[in-house]
Symmetry: C3
Subunit: 286 residues, 3 copies
Amino acid sequence: MSKANYDESRGDAMVFETLTARREGSVLFVEISAPPMNLLGPELVRDLVSLIQRAEADAAIQVLVFKSADPDYFISHVDVTRIKEYRDEAAKLTGEASIAMMFRYLSASRLVTIAQIEGRVRGAGSEFVLACDMRFAARESAIFGQIEPAFGQIPGGGAAQHLARLMGRGRALEVLLSSEDYNADLAERYGWINRAMPADSLEDFVRSLAHRIARFPAAGHVVVKERVNAIALAPVEDFRRDSDLFGESVRNPEAQRRIQAAMERGFQTRDGEMDLARMLGNLSDH
Amino acid sequence: MSKANYDESRGDAMVFETLTARREGSVLFVEISAPPMNLLGPELVRDLVSLIQRAEADAAIQVLVFKSADPDYFISHVDVTRIKEYRDEAAKLTGEASIAMMFRYLSASRLVTIAQIEGRVRGAGSEFVLACDMRFAARESAIFGQIEPAFGQIPGGGAAQHLARLMGRGRALEVLLSSEDYNADLAERYGWINRAMPADSLEDFVRSLAHRIARFPAAGHVVVKERVNAIALAPVEDFRRDSDLFGESVRNPEAQRRIQAAMERGFQTRDGEMDLARMLGNLSDH
Amino acid sequence: MSKANYDESRGDAMVFETLTARREGSVLFVEISAPPMNLLGPELVRDLVSLIQRAEADAAIQVLVFKSADPDYFISHVDVTRIKEYRDEAAKLTGEASIAMMFRYLSASRLVTIAQIEGRVRGAGSEFVLACDMRFAARESAIFGQIEPAFGQIPGGGAAQHLARLMGRGRALEVLLSSEDYNADLAERYGWINRAMPADSLEDFVRSLAHRIARFPAAGHVVVKERVNAIALAPVEDFRRDSDLFGESVRNPEAQRRIQAAMERGFQTRDGEMDLARMLGNLSDH
């Protein structure tokens, strides 16, 4: 990790430009804050890489909890104007310029990861929480979507791999072809997340679960993750293939025209994405 | 396709003996009407083959929506008195005399398919909607069942392949051993369908979803289906094997005796199948 | 089976020390009664082996229904003080000293098995019902949990294999890392069981389903189980590997210390396990 991003002076806290991590016992609570809307760009990828490396190297840390400082956006999606840059940052973790490989690395890590979701998680934001070991979401505010089909693309960060296994062929095809928004209750019914719950009980629930797991022997975490991943986590080559397919399709002229049209309607702006599913549905009408 | 079955005079409509297809933009809305109860016999198989071939050949068509003209029966099941005939019709699509292969062909097609379900879908009717990419059903009227176990058979059109993957071992065994009826809400909880919804919102929901998907680039549909099918659609040889097992078992004397007993109680009649699960449960008592 | 355990005098009943089986038509209703809390020890394993062998050898029997004589405990979990003994009993069924192999044998059997669950099913108790073909549970009383992570272990009887397939990666990791209790409604939402239902309708529902299935041709049961198991039942070597991992980890000093600490707080006592999840969560605090 780049020491420049990390403020050594705050004791049990790690402070990066886009992440703040606070340790409580064996649990590291990580807050994502990449204004204005938590786009997954080079800075956030760089900081996630640093955080993962640092946490893995610290035997005192067993569990990571991710949440957002922004009530409306958990991680919105990748910054489509900076794909090469964020991919280069991801390469620092795995040697491959792909966030799919970074996400899979996290899934296979000895660390237990929990996503505590409020606000929007679309595109690679959804793929980040799918890479976590568990996902709990606020019924009132969490919104899930894979927006890539609106541009003629397959998600590049593993969504097809996870969703086909979590929700089955029919629901995965619906999600991956429709670019629709799904609220937390429907996401729970579809298996996208572990559970939807009221926002006012989410934080306590996740904190309690994280500490509970962290109190159990670390050797058990490793073997459970290994055995479950052997069954339910897609092979590296399938993540790599989806990542390559995304990379190829984003250079496609039709995809570029649609991204441009979306940009003109407020894509990658805080206001413009509050009701993104509707905007994407009207894109080809312009 | 046989031109004889297709009325060229109706512009954007394709009219077959048992199907009427109406194009709206890139969506083809297909209505099934094979009175008296939408049995899957040679005529309906022949028309489905023609429709699939015609739609695949027409680059303007991206999405197919299937619904039934009969409020009580979507597709009831195969006509057990005409197995060789409908299998021969299915061979015109894939070269193999098997509706399992026809259904799998549809699942692997570039076309996106949506089943809008009202009424009964049992046996191969259920397998047809399972072959579609998505399934939405009317809470008030849709009824699902695999009736083959009552005759000592495994479903021949892919139900075991789909249901074991969609709902897991326990629920799939229940469905595939019990010959019970399942309403739309339970079918949703089991993952048999994407969603149950009120009948009066079903048509608008499906139409809107179909047009939404159809507006997105077709290249995206193809790659998404390819990647999801690679994970969640069973290999050809497993469909073929189930089809063969069904074909062998239907010639079994015990199966024939049970089919005969069911016929005497109204099997393959509109009235007799309104409460088919109960009738099948009492079969061996006679 | 050991004739000593079986009282030949009761006609259609088979009476073992810890099991009583009563035949009704082609259904065998088996009641588990191993006071004080239905621990899975050598006696219950021995009797299950005998019962399975006897039922498989009797062509008149098609379906087994398992229920508990104890309203609070269905099967609590293995007796951790007698692991070698119960493993030796399990070896009499499959030649391998492993309850994972015994459970997998049952899953692959020609017999259709239904678990009718009231009370607690934790650890190997959960794995026993997962090995059954179907699981229905009383909403008011059934409690599910995998307690092994609290001791730093992976479940040894197949829970990881079943749960990862039934509920997907996120929910399976939650269950297998948290040692939490899950009520019947949540177990249904997660896919752990087929359905939760009111206690007062559970028995009638299961009895009716069992008889319905038993009236259908046995040849159909065999082929359906074979085809579904080929898709959704883990390979023998994965059950064996989990069993070995459990066996190794239970000899680990940290596991032994935690088991000892749990014993001091009432583990393996009827009262001490009424609220076991809470006790396990506080274990490392002592």
